[in-house]
Symmetry: C2
Subunit: 225 residues, 2 copies
Amino acid sequence: MKGLTERLGNCVLFNNMDVKEVVNVLNRVEYRVNSFGKEGIIAHEGEECTSLGIVLEGYIEVRKTYASGKTVVLTRLNQGSIFGEAIIFSKLHRYPSTIVSMTDSKIMHISRRDVIALCSSYPSVLERFMEVLSERILMLSRKVRELSYETLRHKICSFIMEMYEKQKSNILKVPITRQNMAEYLGVQRPSLSRELIRMKEDGLIDFDRDTITIKDINALEEFLT
Amino acid sequence: MKGLTERLGNCVLFNNMDVKEVVNVLNRVEYRVNSFGKEGIIAHEGEECTSLGIVLEGYIEVRKTYASGKTVVLTRLNQGSIFGEAIIFSKLHRYPSTIVSMTDSKIMHISRRDVIALCSSYPSVLERFMEVLSERILMLSRKVRELSYETLRHKICSFIMEMYEKQKSNILKVPITRQNMAEYLGVQRPSLSRELIRMKEDGLIDFDRDTITIKDINALEEFLT
DNA sequence: GAAAGTATGTAACATATGTTACCGAATAAA
DNA sequence: TTTATTCGGTAACATATGTTACATACTTTC
């Protein structure tokens, strides 16, 4: 297949390899490349997942399908993305969602066994793979923490403390609009305004259109614990 | 150090290796073993993390410390547990929290480089490492999903559908008390009762002390999307 | 600089859930 | 069987946040 080497070189697992090495990789593993049309099913929810998927061409969607027929798009993956990377190494290695091709697409599959072989032979692949898994863990941990805040005031405190870490000043420039800040925190804008006013009344902060001034940083932190 | 081999054999990364192989491992890597007393700091928040930690003896806590001085315990790790496994492979490899020894403890450190070397040489270690990271990803994903439910009714629907998947019947035996169910869903017991009653009024379910009967499974699923 | 458009604060009201208290039913103990 | 204890449903009230609407202040465009 023409262009396969370049395609693979785009993949997050191989993008710091030179061409020769990628060719080497291709010779060492028993890969499988399948073509799909628009709306073609790449993997069904519940199906066994025994191989890593790599999007060589096209773009695909990961969807959750409910018995009622409704589907929800969880993520979109385009060229160079991989999928199933966490599933193949988990105990219950079954796809938790359905994977659908959104365009004409070409998908490479590398078996779990060969992924291990690749990681053993190419430390750079191993490192990239670990990096992908690790970044995902950190991203999810952050998300869990954010979702765990119980009240709007908690979220705002966390948001302010994050800015404080970066700007290291009690007078913080808020780089986004109220609307965006509300979206970022997952609340309605009027709710955000109202709570900011209450926090001002409580002597925690002061604020105007595009700055927030920290009045009582101890109280803000205390509140987060 | 006496007993090191057995101690390491308990570790999640090496627990399917035989003794000889573990000895082999020990000869191949430049490990470091440090001792800590009670309340000894194993790693400070913000510090660079360049090595994998293994708890050989004792038990330790992962804590978040706030400038106000307050600390929150995030997890406890005992013998055989590892820490820093996601951090060493992430881009910003700094401890996000402080790690404190709770008893006298012995901690082994293996550098990132040697972890890679180990994974390259011992496919079983590689597999176990991947399994650890993958299971963590799946656990976190589940948690994010659960935390993302907006209303109590969403949580209840999800809870019911989970039971339905297992029991495959419209009449579900609820294996826990209301109190525990409320705790599991993270709400107050009266709130749970009230919402169950509303769902009964809405014709979605019927229930008594220890069973829930699904009346309209489509509506339940529909509601989750 | 005036007009139009957009962002923000504010208020009134609706809804969801927490909180507390109480009562009756189920269960365990005597 | 009686008594004590726990569990679950119920109600009244408190609080947090969503929802909608509107007025004011800021920004952009001409």
